[in-house]
Amino acid sequence: MDRDEQRIRELEQIANELRIAVVKSVYNAGSGHLGGSLSAADIITALYFDKMRVNPEEPDWDDRDRFVLSKGHAGPILYAALAKRGFFPMEELSTLRKCGSRLSGHPACFKTPGVDMTSGSLGHGLSVGLGMRLAGRVRGKDYRVFVLLGDGELQEGQVWEAAMAAAHFKVDNLVAIVDYNRVQLDGTVDEIMEVAPLADKWRSFGWQVLTMDGHDMGDIVATVDKAIAQSQEGPVVSIADTVKGKGVSFMEGKSAWHGRYPTEEEYKQALAELGEQGGADV
């Protein structure tokens, strides 16, 4: 195995650990969004453990790369990544959604170290990321901004206002990623409100468009590298082909798992499928 391949295996291992942490924290909380957290697990792993310039010792470092989880309901996977990356202790994940906890039901930037922006009301994140990069331009800073969007979220008109503006302002270092898992709360995206053809839509708004397999770590790493390089010329979106609930067989592709939480039996089975050795203790 060469070094690159070794690195990819390590990232895959981390993504699996994060999935286990997500299932545990949501089960422990008694509510939360598993499906969209699991579909984003590999992408967020690649960003936080391979691509983003961040410093857990100094979460507010002025020159750090920023991440905006526009699909804020996937907070559990962001929290797991931040904890694993060292922004706060892993044990704190068990406080998810508890009153007084630093891990709010949806991410809140002034509560949780490492969370760059509050999110949860869908459609805001790309605008926020755009503003972050415009600030970088004014202040002469080249930090990168990554924005993760849901596919159902693309039904919000504000996303397209932001897409239009980002191209118009020719912002650099802005990379959007669409977690295209094709499932939203009430059903599949195509039956609720079709957003396809995505690549054509983004291209017609003036964006450079890439696609990737959102569960193939090698492809994610290579595509995000390409996106970063191309983002010097203007905004780039990578459309990630993903599966809602990825990693737990009975959750995969099911809209019911957008916001449901597992029974004890389902919980144990989920952990077993993810190869959790330590058992079901939360």
Binding site: D62, R66, V68, R133, L134, A135, G157, A162, A165
Partner: protein, 317 residues
């Protein structure tokens, strides 16, 4: 009737923004295709690299401002008040106020001041909405001088601020020596019989009403409450204790604005009669500004009558 110099707040604002831009390289200005109306075009000419016209897309503009603030800028966001509050309500609430982003929202064309464009463009329910957002500072200056003096203070203050501005020329009340203090009411006239409290440019009419009350033998206190939130409770309670009767005057629906704010403080801590003068829970009309103010509750006569009624209530209390 008082004869006074008239200046539009938006003019003072546009000029003041340029001064802020000179003083601080992190001040940025955002507009949504109304830079001629908001007068941000002066800033745009001076600092094109820090001016961003977002087109007719207020929701995007507001959330982008939050992103800018999170990355070290001091964005001043500009559009009509009804758009800044209602069109982009969720962006204001979630991305700006809940995150305590250091964004200044200049909500121009407040009240009935866009009189000829009619109720679609007038903004008479904005104060009710922004008052109910925790952690948002709400400023409604009384004249152009107060706008000019407030701007550097608001730029210096770290946190979200909502600033309501009027479109039309309004009486210049304050002199050049006026000092803006965030969170402090300004006493314009001491008095003991009744206190007239207002926010915004309607202060000119309030002072006329006070003159008339003096002619009729009453001794009214006049206070301008330009920081609607956080409210200067001390000044309100002092008025309740020392004058025993209050009249609130605002270019806003009678519900939810200054009258409500003052009424809440007084009811909780020192009950006394409070008469509310404002637009009587109705959409207004199209027409000349002064005509609309007179027709929709804000005539000088109406303020005088409310003051007398408050004094009567106090005596009968």
């Amino acid at each position: 009737m008082r004869t006074q110099k008239m200046i539009a707040q938006r003019e003072a604002y546009g000029a003041g923004l340029v001064e802020l831009g000179k003083a601080n390289p992190n001040v940025a200005v955002l507009d949504a295709d109304v830079s001629n109306s908001t007068r941000t075009l002066y800033f745009a000419e001076e600092f094109p690299e820090r001016f961003f016209n977002f087109g007719i897309a207020e929701q995007n503009m507001m959330a982008a401002a939050a992103g800018m603030a999170k990355c070290g800028l001091i964005p001043f966001v500009n559009t009509f008040s009804f758009l800044a509050t209602y069109r982009a309500a969720d962006q204001l609430r979630t991305s700006i106020v809940y995150t305590k982003a250091n964004v200044k929202i200049a909500a121009t064309y407040g009240g009935l001041s866009d009189s000829f464009d009619g109720p679609t463009h007038q903004s008479i329910a904005d104060l009710a909405m922004v008052r109910a957002l925790a952690d948002l500072t709400v400023v409604v200056p009384a004249d152009a001088v107060e706008v000019e003096k407030a701007l550097p203070v608001l730029a210096e203050f770290d946190g979200p601020v909502w600033l309501r501005l009027s479109r039309n020329p309004s009486p210049v009340i304050y002199g050049d020596d006026f000092e803006f203090k965030l969170g402090k009411a300004t006493v314009l006239r001491e008095g003991t019989d009744v206190t007239l409290m207002s926010c915004g440019t309607v202060l000119g009419r309030v002072l006329e009403a006070a003159d008339q009350l003096v002619e009729e033998g009453l001794n009214p206190r006049v206070i301008s409450i330009s920081t609607l939130k956080p409210l200067d409770e001390e000044a309100i309670l002092a008025a309740a204790r020392e004058t025993g009767a209050i009249v609130t005057v605002e270019e806003h629906n009678i519900l939810g604005g200054l009258g409500a704010a003052v009424g809440e403080v007084v009811a909780d801590q020192h009950p006394c009669p409070v008469k509310r003068v404002g637009i009587p829970d109705t959409f207004a009309d199209t027409g000349p500004y002064d005509v609309l103010l007179d027709k929709f509750g804000l005539s000088v006569d109406n303020i005088v009558k409310a003051a007398k009624d408050a004094v009567t209530l106090k005596k009968n209390g």
